[in-house]
């Protein structure tokens, strides 16, 4: 039975017994300072610069080279356009909070700071906020229509070529399969999965455009490529009307230029023969199934020219200065990794 006293606060019957209370009172014995993150984490995740995580290889990421994934490359190009300083690191979809690359990890302001990642849907605002030069906004309703050209025919052709075309099996392996696993069986399963996923994506918009039922799986590659040729032609026409050489007559390149560049760059780099003029019949170009050649022959070469200008602007202009910088940073990174 508990006794009550007027001086002490009223004790309740469920109060912790005094001996136990004494034991608990001694805790915490000592509070340590928060551990610093491993030294490697500083430079490998997010150092003094924000880090953009993209599909890439270790070496290319050190050099800041263009990613080999169209949506990653689009944002990489746009961030560069906006004048955001960032480094890139190779990653996979599993690392992303949204399940898809790219995402950006802002720079850490203090060693214990935990910046939250920014997914690709918010990258546009991020670029405008932290960039030094604001790319102009395009306010044309036609923009949506031309964006659809990239989203449907050109994307389908890219998926068809990379994932389903036998002539690019090596490319697919190099991009997505070999880095993921060294096991023969796992690679085989992965290849199969990717191919099916690509097929499902293409089928969503169908051989003629509309959704088709599960059985019309037989993606008709001929019409996929034909649609891509027409789409590229349309983009080239649009570009030829612009006086500034950028889409919709903008003074400086916009987000739409970056999206187009993402596809044309990859197509020209990986899916065309060696440099040189390609003159041929339309049917021959179609039959070659090489998207790079299709880009080059669209219109009167506007797209290739657009690609070259943008590439020079973004990658070659400051390459000398940046190359040294990235190399220095790379060395530092290696040293830190060795120490850790």
């Amino acid at each position: 039975m508990a006794t009550t006293s007027t001086a002490a606060p009223p004790r309740k019957w469920w109060q912790v017994p005094r001996p136990l209370q004494k034991v608990f009172d001694t805790f915490p014995l000592l509070a340590y300072d928060v551990n610093a993150l491993p030294a490697r984490a500083q430079s490998a995740t997010s150092g003094d610069l924000p880090t953009l995580y993209v599909f890439s290889t270790e070496e290319e990421a050190l050099l800041g080279a263009p990613s080999f994934n169209p949506s990653c490359l689009k944002w990489q190009a746009f961030l560069k356009l906006a004048g955001v300083k960032f480094q890139i690191l190779p990653s996979t979809n599993h690392a992303s909070p949204t399940g898809a690359l790219p995402f950006i990890l802002p720079a850490r302001s203090s060693p214990t700071d935990v910046p939250s990642p920014i997914p690709s849907s918010k990258l546009h605002d991020y670029a405008l906020k932290y960039g030094t030069s604001n790319p102009p906004e395009v306010s044309a309703l036609r923009l949506d229509a031309y964006q659809a050209l990239l989203d449907v025919p050109i994307r389908n052709a890219w998926l068809q070529a990379l994932y389903r075309d036998p002539q690019y099996i090596d490319l697919l392996d190099r991009f997505y399969i070999t880095p993921a696993s060294s096991s023969y069986w796992v690679r085989g399963a992965l290849r199969h999965q990717l191919r099916r996923a690509a097929e499902t994506e293409i089928r969503k918009t169908g051989p003629g455009g509309a959704a088709s039922t599960a059985l019309s799986l037989l993606v008709d590659e001929h019409s996929v490529y034909r649609a891509a040729v027409k789409a590229l032609e349309a983009l080239a026409t649009l570009l030829s009307e612009s006086k500034t050489g950028w889409f919709f007559g903008a003074e400086t390149p916009t987000i739409f230029d970056a999206s187009v560049f993402a596809y044309t760059h990859l197509m020209l780099k990986y899916m065309s023969d060696a440099e040189g003029e390609v003159e041929g019949e339309k049917d021959f170009i179609l039959a070659s199934r090489k998207l790079g050649i299709m880009v080059r022959s669209a219109g009167s070469g506007e797209l290739e020219q657009h690609h070259r200008r943008l590439f020079e602007l973004l990658w070659l202009a400051d390459s000398n200065a940046e190359l040294l910088d990235t190399k220095a940073r790379g060395n530092k990174l290696l040293q830190v990794q060795l120490q850790a």
């Binding site: 036609r142 949506d144 075309d165 499902t200 051989p207 003629g208 455009g209 019309s216 019409s223 349309a234």
Partner: protein, 438 residues
């Protein structure tokens, strides 16, 4: 030469229930004379490409499917029967815009239409499903509309509006509840839950899913219609030359095929009489120009009186009656059922569809259209599907024998009767008395 155009049948007062098919019929009605083609009411399982619309050219035994490929193919045909719309004289700008708008229609208008007619449970069960039942021969309405609905739901999945599908929503809730029960969570009895403020009470409970999502749905629709509204679809009537001169960039002009496609999507949004008409209301309220275009275009292309679409006669036409025979219908039905077997069914259907297409390609005499197969996967999947199906069959048969033989499903296979032993116990009370002694 008579081309056969296989399409989904008519519905909602339009020649076809499917947007792409409708666009193709509209295009044919304007570029071909009715004597040069035949419309065949069909379903995807009846054509080798498993996709409608499909065009069959009997003179070369060639199948083409999809709106774009068909339009392309028509342009390779020779006049006089085919009236080429003049593409070459149009400025290249019009051509580029048309391509862009065609892509926009397939990328954004198609998911909207899918939401309205297929994903929304109320609209689907009240309007779309009966329409399909009316145009398909008997057992096929059990399989085909389901496949179409699944494809359409996948088409609209990225819009995040799956809650319009109340069937799926209920299923999900029930599954969650079962899981909770299995995990041993405390359950509030169903009767109590309602009183406490469950799903069905209050204003929110009374609203249909479409009403709850109304604002977002209207936003989605507006995004598409705003862009489409920029196009001058009805240009012929308004004197085309003047507007162009007046201003450098007037309203956007598009080619005939884009108009057909736009008409098809908009008509299917506007004309069907659905119980949850949100899409129709948005169109009628804010986009009078687009509505006018639909009605005007329909009046012009499919006049009430006047030229009739050349539908094939079911009885008289040999090509049609062959694919409509009872035997082929049962075959199509069985294939659809097999396709629903988990895992293996799909593999088998893939193989079957590939084979059918290859046969069609080999029969075709037009060499330029022969399409390479992608990555030698057909052989492998054939082996896989064959082995899998055999294994499955052996398993099923074995399981059946096991049940029959050992589990006594129909009673034990061998019935034995034992003669009761005759002992002292069987001699009544006296016997029992002596049994202890024995």
């Amino acid at each position: 030469m008579t081309l056969e155009l296989h399409v989904w049948g008519p519905a909602f007062g339009l020649p076809s229930i499917d947007a792409e098919c409708l666009a193709t019929v509209t295009y044919f009605a304007q570029t071909l004379s009715a004597a040069d083609y035949l419309l065949v009411q069909s379903s995807p399982s009846a054509v080798p490409s498993h996709h409608l619309p499909a065009l069959y050219n009997p003179s070369t035994a060639t199948w083409i499917s999809g709106f774009d490929p068909i339009v392309n193919y028509l342009s390779t045909l020779q006049p006089p029967s085919y009236h080429h719309p003049d593409v070459t004289t149009l400025p290249s700008r019009v051509y580029a815009d048309s391509q862009a708008y065609k892509a926009l229609l397939t990328s954004s208008a198609a998911p909207l239409l899918a939401l309205s007619l297929y994903v929304s449970s109320a609209n689907y069960s009240e309007t779309t499903r009966p329409a399909y039942s009316a145009i398909l021969p008997f057992p096929l309405p059990w399989t085909e509309p389901l496949a179409v609905r699944a494809a359409m739901a996948a088409r609209a999945a990225h819009l995040g509006m799956s809650s319009l599908d109340t069937d799926a929503e209920m299923e999900r809730l029930e599954k969650e509840e079962r899981e909770r029960e299995a995990a041993g969570w405390v359950q509030i009895p169903r009767a109590l839950r309602k009183a406490v403020g469950g799903q069905n009470s209050g204003v929110k409970g009374q609203l249909s899913p479409e009403m709850k999502r109304r604002i977002k749905l209207e936003g989605l629709a507006a995004e598409v219609f705003d862009v489409l509204g920029e196009v001058d679809f009805l240009e012929e009537e308004n004197g085309e030359e003047e507007e162009e001169d007046k201003e450098g960039r007037g309203r956007i002009k598009v080619t005939l095929e884009t108009k057909c496609l736009a008409f098809a999507y908009l008509a299917l949004m506007l004309l069907p009489d659905v119980p949850r008409p949100w899409l129709k209301e948005v169109l009628q309220r804010k986009y009078a120009g687009l509505c006018e275009f639909v009605l005007e275009y329909r009046r012009k292309t499919f006049p009430e009186s006047g030229k009739v679409l050349p539908w094939a006669d079911r009885e008289s036409d040999p090509a049609v009656s062959a694919c409509d025979s009872a035997f082929s219908i049962v075959g199509r039905f069985v294939r659809a059922v097999v396709d629903d077997i988990p895992m293996l069914g799909r593999e088998w259907s893939r193989w079957w569809a590939l084979r059918q297409r290859r046969v069609a390609e080999e029969n075709s005499t037009e060499t330029q259209l022969v399409i390479r197969r992608s990555v030698g996967e057909s052989e492998r999947s054939l082996l896989l599907a064959g082995a899998g199906l055999t294994l499955l069959a052996i398993n099923v048969v074995g399981l059946g024998i096991y049940w029959y033989r050992y589990r006594g499903l129909l009673g034990a296979p061998l019935q034995t009767w034992h003669r009761p032993l005759v002992g002292l116990g069987s001699f009544g009370a006296a016997g029992a008395m002596f049994a202890g002694l024995a």
